[in-house]
Symmetry: C2
Subunit: 253 residues, 2 copies
């Protein structure tokens, strides 16, 4: 399957990996070699300062393709990865370093920066969904999951609040601010929320509050010792996407 959307294609170990470009936003799609129409799509966001091919993201993406038969897409957030950083973004990044150097909380800077990134990234993800659901092996109307902590939750929560095509999501470990809480209240799909119990940078109570505000009836919070850098995926794997995107719990071969 090769359309003009894609700029590269490589096949290895049963995984088709293709770079794409949608309105100047670069992304990558990993999919099973044998993908057929209706293949569930998982959107994976990257953390702040990282990019679409960050090592852990790629690891999770490959696992999802090989073990669950999903297609997985990642895009660079504005000013991340292969995308130039705007002057304004550069000021926010410098302000974060200045906050840290001065021993000040970075919270207000991160809140402003993340909110701005989300305003730009939400329409980019929506355009990505538009394009990928036109691929025959994915198709329109199928299940779509979104997964990502930290910056990826700052973007994914408002995305899930406005785009009904996303049917299940994993969030967590994110700086909390008013816009994010308002967005969480609009989210009604099943969610899992990951809470680092001992995060030096993110207040535990703010995460508990955000979890409580999600409008979803089907929501679970999973807390674990350590910071958002140390998510013990092996301990909290509840086969969430397999249950929600496969609609019955049966994993693909």
């Amino acid at each position: 399957m090769h359309t003009s959307l894609f700029t590269t294609q490589a096949i290895a170990d049963g995984i088709v990996e293709r770079d794409f470009l949608i309105d100047d936003v670069p992304g990558v799609l990993w999919s099973p070699e044998s993908a057929s129409p209706g293949t569930p799509l998982v959107l994976m966001g990257h953390g702040g300062g990282l990019h679409k091919r960050s090592a852990r993201l790629v690891g999770r993406a490959r696992d999802a393709v090989l073990h669950d038969g999903f297609a997985v897409a990642a895009i660079d957030a504005p000013g991340h990865g292969d995308r130039p950083r705007s002057t304004e973004d550069q000021r926010w990044v410098e302000a974060m370093f200045a906050d840290r150097a001065a021993g000040r909380s970075m919270a207000s800077t991160i809140a402003a920066y993340n909110a701005s990134l989300a305003d730009r990234a939400v329409p980019e993800w929506r355009a990505t969904i538009d394009a990928l659901t036109r691929l025959p092996e994915i198709g329109d109307g199928g299940p779509i999951g979104y997964s990502g902590m930290t910056l990826a939750s700052a973007i994914g929560i408002p995305l899930a609040a406005v785009d009904p095509r996303i049917t299940a999501a994993i969030f967590g470990g994110v700086f909390v601010y008013d816009e994010l809480i308002r967005a969480a209240r609009q989210v009604s799909i099943p969610i899992e929320f990951l809470l680092p119990w001992d995060d030096d940078e993110i207040d535990r109570d703010s995460g508990l509050t955000l979890f409580g505000e999600f409008g979803s009836l089907d929501k679970t919070l999973h807390a674990f010792p350590g910071s958002h850098f140390t998510v013990p995926v092996d301990r909290i794997d509840t086969r969430f996407f397999v249950r929600h995107l496969r609609g019955g719990g049966a994993a693909a071969a």
Copy 2:
């Protein structure tokens, strides 16, 4: 396998079900028909006012035997199930009803009652472990899990604090009092802690505090909407015992 420990034996659907009596404490053991030495043992506690054959406990026990190849044991707590209620226990039960009728918090009554039940039940569970680990199909030194919320956690947490034979445990939804916090600090085995997010009877913050106090390095908290009557086991199944009692994640056939 039939020893003098057992008073009944029935085999159906691949499950051997045997009643036992250890120092006047009645219990039941469910095990695979084909159990061989080293079969992991899971101890399942029942909730307050319930008993060793409560419907949900039996359901979870049968699943653990059939799907994971575990042996599962349950015993009646003091004054529960087939065991006579002492005069003192009767007073606590009446005090709880009086608290509820008067619109008072039941917390102090439940704390005193649960602490007393735990003082008696911990040695009973230890004697049960002594007896069951002498069975050839279980044997000494193998992995032992403990699972149970509410009263079963009030008993299981101090049990896990003092008996090193228990190697992994699931707790949650329990009234918190000082002795329980002190016991939790002594627990160092892997645990999962289930927290009902909207429990009318158990304060959310007390559960979060208790989770924080567990001495375990490997611990995860799983919170879900609703009360302790509505644990969504299908949403929070992390194959915890399969990982910890089978030592590698491979389930038995």
